[in-house]
Symmetry: C2
């Protein structure tokens, strides 16, 4: 049996104060691509052939800005080192085949589980987004178009418009990953939000083949 | 025409760095209840009679812990100064009849808008929650039960279980509201998250009657 190790990010301890301590990375860990074997990690987490539906593909609800910037980044995947991340319905689809660290379990029932950003099934009503990442630049770009089921108070990002999230790994110290994100309009004239966080990477291994 | 002023919290400017600056309060503003006329504010924001569906009521999906703590707080609304907040489908239902500050508009079309925490319509699949608040203690308690459509990475709050959010107003300086929140299991043995933020209050007025 061949074993390879992967890194995932996960939260430090449950019972301590969490303010300003490392926290969990949602879904696929971009840091996994910073290892020595980028190609194998990309092929592991971004399968070209799969029966799973990829929700990070254009649909009729995408606004022209979202579509055109998607096409721009798609071009960059051909020669510029950018990779398009697939987005499956459940987080379990992303991590299937990997052994979780002791104490963490993925629910094993066959219920209809959905990662929260794919909880709204009608196109355009909820979270429309696609993520591109650049392993060597240690950055990701998420194109995000919120729908009318994501209403907030007046003054937030306009529903149906494009917001661009630029995520940057600022530094890596041992297992700690320091990341920042700025969310802006496409023309960068409007800053919607800025954030930063510290994430912890864990080693994961492939499960044994049956 | 009678006019009354209300306070809502809203974000400071769009074009500046937002990190560590005041940010927007989602939905109803608890600070509104700290004014001199608490009773009138409670009757404005917590209508007893309304045609709107209140989603913050028990349903068959609520776990026993959620139900029993709900009953405990409901008892406290009778004599202990706690108020149960209603939760409508759209934020516009909460703020209808109020004039928004210049530059902020609520969409005027008749589409099916939903506040993001009420975006999942099947009971128990998404956000089940109810909020109680105590105007004089300047605190709120939210009982929250995430469903399988809010899946995250393994290790987060267990799906279908109760998380209790304790929100406290730490201090008020002019228009600034400093708030903190701790999210725990009911027995307080497990801390899921801690957070804090600064919010800005704005004055709102009732719209003129036609």
């Amino acid at each position: 049996m061949m074993r390879r190790s992967f890194q995932v990010a996960a939260r430090l301890g449950h019972r301590r104060a969490l303010l300003r301590t490392p926290c969990i990375l949602p879904g696929l860990d971009p840091a996994a691509a910073f290892g020595s074997s980028t190609d194998s990690l990309v092929s592991r987490f971004c399968p070209v052939k799969t029966d799973l539906k990829d929700y990070a593909l254009p649909n009729a609800s995408w606004c022209p800005d979202m579509l055109s910037l998607y096409q721009e980044f798609l071009e960059k995947t051909k020669s510029d080192g950018w990779v398009k991340l697939p987005s499956f319905k459940s987080n379990r689809d992303h991590i299937q085949g990997l052994k979780l660290p002791s104490g963490l379990v993925a629910a094993s029932d066959k219920s209809d589980w959905r990662i929260f950003t794919r909880c709204i099934q009608v196109e355009g009503q909820g979270y429309e987004y696609v993520i591109f990442f650049h392993p060597f630049k240690k950055k990701s770009v998420c194109l995000f178009q919120p729908g009318p089921y994501l209403e907030g108070p007046p003054g937030l990002i306009p529903v149906g418009s494009l917001a661009v999230l630029n995520v940057q790994v600022e530094k890596i110290e041992d297992q700690k990953l320091y990341m920042s994100c700025i969310t802006q309009s496409r023309d960068q004239e409007t800053v919607y939000a800025k954030s930063s966080g510290v994430f912890l990477q864990w080693q994961l291994e492939e499960e044994s083949s049956p």
